[in-house]
Symmetry: D2
Subunit: 358 residues, 4 copies
């Protein structure tokens, strides 16, 4: 089968853009058709324009593609556009693309809070795609729409939470503490003098994002599929840290459930290990075989050893145990630039194709 | 003033032992008199026996000291003995030293739970020294006694907690999440293949230690000064991780107080910044000028930048703020091999001298 | 095609052994049949016995294999045995295996200097296999033989040297300076306290190995194929350092040729880029598509970005330029645990199969 | 003695500027009087303007100093000005300061090649100060002059070379290979994504600097003290790499001497250990007790363990041994931001005071 959908990538020279290129380079459904970047890069070949920082080389057929400016007119021939744009420019550009009736999967934060834009983690809440008809009607679009994916840290968190919420009902409290990789800050990103032999206990805006995104993603759509109902009975507290790790966010999670008695660690472990999602049922190309992996060893997950499992599209969970203060605590790991960023958008797009939205 | 108290160091070739040597090398009260290590090292000069891993060289007068075996008879002429022994040998050796009427300040975990052995963080609970007469009478000692210091992570935690408990009364819940330096595991300790570009979300026994030690240290002595009354109304949950940092444990702390309404972040900040302790009042040589430093910048404390403040004997606190789940959260940093280990023992000994126990 | 040769792996739980497992897990010719380790591990399943440190999981069918002791009798049914044994035990065990008429590909240093054992880097000197008939006759073997591969640092060095020697004739001087990854020291190997924020300018025995191995590998066999003639007109000086890199040895090389005038940087670049070797001509499964990759960018090769090129079986060369003291200097990178260790043995074995020695 | 010379610091908010502040904060001769930075910082207090990255805090009396723009008029009242300016602005500013009859000690590269500006490493060639009268007369200055210090890597190299040249006469060849710390690139400097788990085998312009600076520093002044005579009979080849180390450049050096027979390793070791320089004889405050430390252990020097010896103003040398290609090889370590940058300028200024040039 040769790929049939033409894909554009915005912010193609950046860290997330580079991941989009790797994920789409040999994709069975999407073919990299157009690359967009700043005016500084436009007109150059991709090889000239990009400071490539991936451990596998630029795919051969991408090297010579001439970079386009990020204007909708230049991407008219794309069936789908993936945006790895920075937040400072993503707002205007993505809206212009949407209004030009283009399909946009965005990794930027700008429209995540928009009441008509779904915030989708592909192994969690692909049912939120049902708002698309409403979104189209609002903007008088025929085929275009805009879907965002979540912050990298939120993404790792909501996968096991969704499994547990489905099985055991709502949470009263969620406390999460992250140890985040440097690649989450892009390139040049974190100066080495700031992070070698060090921890930075602050990432601007990150804790707020985790706290509200979780409520939207784990929430539901109303019955008319025209608005979202975020969780209201759950309190979330996030603490975010940067650590000297290249890829892979590690998160310690503590939970209490509304249900009494709460599930035991064995219950939680079983539910996590057995969790499956719609993207798997739809047999999407990038869907992980296991949406959640529960580790056997008590010193796992570890970013260096576990981040590449299932091509980076899974969440690895370990150390499920009782907590002196809450019901349950555990540790999880998510690959922040795969499932936590570009990988979410790509899998979201595959789901959209399966749902015949593209 | 030339130093007048002869000090012995057990486990002198290990990581904690090396710190003891640096801290005592130019001490105004203690002079390094005897060094003890395993039979493999005994009989060699210290320079020959030790694999020195500190960033300042072995003090000149220590290089040629001939290492002794760790038997009490060999340390009879010491006024005080500091133990940096590993837990697998510390139990028997320290008890033998105590029974020989020697004064022992131990960094090992073996006797921390003993109901007659105080567990003292020198900027927190030096009032626990009042159990010493009772301890002596139990063992029929004239001048000897045994004092332990706390686990490195616990030590960092209890300093701000003590300040807050003194000001605002008891806690209902304490949740702490650590990012601990590799030096806490000694030498050779953590293999580089385990920690470079990685986080290890498990340190054997560490979470349990933090959970109960906190209750003993923040607890009180009964009125007869013959037994400890650990806190009973406070729940503590600890999660411990190893991160690629050389020295300095970073800890995220969330707290709820029994008192309603709880103190505000401004109240907490003020109380922390103003905290003083008995070791300061006694003008002990190694007492920090400030027992707690509250940082101005919102991305601090950071281990590389803050661990050496006040010679490593302070705790640096930052990001004091409200929490969606608890009353208050903040981040702290402690130098794990100074205040968190050898530095506690040395300052404890200084307090004991000031209290005329030595 | 299903694999037809039964492979045994000695030292299977160690770092090199783990690489052998990954390289052979889906091999078209070899099937993992037997795993050998110390008596401490023998009798356990591989999952129980091994402290697995690779970033991809233990292959499913290997987890349950019961580890055997490293005695020849237990490996009689293997067509080929790969040895990742430590040098302190490899000598006796490998000789016993050889005398039992087994085929052994060893990563250990013990027999590299043996005048009848070839020291083969698979993309360099597979013509040295022609000594095997002589080796067999000496030991009265029917099908067994012993082949060693080179030290990891030597391996990276000799690949471009071979290309240049073939094109431009002999060298008068070779100066090499290494920056070696921690994985080269095995597990637990380098303590993190020794290498974080640090360089260790000494690796025991490494410089000597690089200096003599290079001469044997680049040398020739005599006409009767019964003895090796190492280079005698070339002086080699090696300086070896350990740096905080997980995988991938970086080496700076300076060369002078006997030929006057010497080749230009452009000549050298062209010859390196065009180099091909016998393993490629024989279409061996693990042979790299390009035995040498010459980088375009002047800040490459870099271990994190280039070590996985061609599955780790290539050598990447960059910064080819003239030298104020010698004729030419350049920088190279080799994946120390793939081509520099297990990958050499596996590719050597594939060549041996192609040559009908197995 | 209270300090009597008023010191200005240009580029005060940068990495080198921060080191100047730490080195001058408690200096017996110089008092920090004026701080200069870009127009973006001018007018703010130093605490507001600087992104402080040192492991000891901003000195109390410096926090509130209002930063000035880098114009000579603003520094008229300074007895000496230390420049940590970047090369892109240092040229014009330093020349303007010189022409305003100010005394400038510059860490920038701009005037190092100037035939009337001395390039001084304070433990090597303080005799080059004798060109100052000629420099003053050229610019018609009464008290002002301009002195540069060398590149950080060159600085480490020339200290042992000077000792050996004094004792054994000229070199025919010098080959040096560096492993340089990230702090050498300033802040934000090296992105963490470029250097974690990595080596970058290229530092723009660095090799050329090492190759010619060495010749000027080890060269002499002509008899009239009006021009420099760099070495002409010595070939220098430098290879420069960036490694994941925070502070401290490690360099492998190979040498051949003109004299036959060459000195033995024992000769070299003795001469290095006994070396003393004029800054020591003049009893300058920042002069190291030992200008060169020869290590006892064969795995030293190491940046983390040796960089702070003698306050960072020494060069540590180890592994002195014969070389298969040259006469001698050894490894050295220099603290790149102390002796390799700000520390050189400060000690140079102390020498100038002792020589009554200030």
């Amino acid at each position: 089968m040769s790929p049939t959908k033409k894909a554009g990538i915005l912010g193609a020279t950046g860290t997330v853009g580079q991941r989009f290129i790797l994920l789409l380079a040999n994709h069975p459904q999407f073919v990299i058709h157009a690359l967009g970047a700043s005016s500084r890069s436009a007109g150059k070949t991709y090889k000239e324009a990009a400071k490539w920082k991936q451990s596998s080389p630029i795919p051969e057929h991408v090297r010579g593609i001439v970079v386009r400016p990020c204007v909708a007119e230049e991407f008219k021939d794309c069936d789908v556009v993936f945006s790895g744009l920075d937040a400072d420019v993503a707002g205007d550009i993505e809206m212009a693309f949407l209004k030009s009736d283009l399909v946009v999967f965005s990794n930027a934060k700008n429209y995540r809070r928009d009441p008509t834009v779904p915030l989708i983690v592909p192994t969690v809440n692909t049912d939120h795609f049902t708002i698309i008809p409403h979104q189209r009607s609002l903007h008088s679009l025929r085929k275009g729409f805009l879907v965002t994916n979540a912050n990298c840290s939120t993404t790792g968190l909501v996968v096991p939470l969704k499994a547990l919420q489905d099985a055991f009902g709502p949470f009263t409290t969620i406390v999460v503490h992250t140890m985040q990789a440097i690649s989450g800050a892009g390139y040049p990103g974190v100066p080495s003098l700031d992070i070698m032999d060090n921890v930075v206990p602050f990432i601007s805006g990150e804790e707020e994002k985790m706290e509200w995104e979780t409520l939207k993603i784990l929430g539901s759509l109303d019955q008319t599929s025209t608005s979202f109902a975020p969780l209201t009975q759950t309190r979330v507290s996030a603490t975010c840290n940067r650590v000297p790790v290249i890829d892979g966010h590690t998160e310690s999670v503590s939970l209490s459930f509304a249900r009494r008695p709460p599930p035991s660690p064995a219950d939680v472990t079983r539910v996590l290990a057995e969790y499956t999602c719609e993207a798997q049922e739809l047999r999407c190309h990038s869907a992980p075989r296991r949406a959640i992996i529960v580790t056997e060893d008590d010193d796992r997950p570890q970013p260096r050893l576990d981040r590449d499992s299932e091509g980076g599209q899974t969440v690895t969970v370990g150390r499920v145990r009782t907590c002196n203060v809450f019901d349950i605590k555990f540790t999880l790991l998510v690959h922040n630039t795969v499932l936590g960023a570009a990988g979410s958008s790509v899998l979201n797009a595959e789901v959209a194709v399966a749902k015949e939205l593209i």
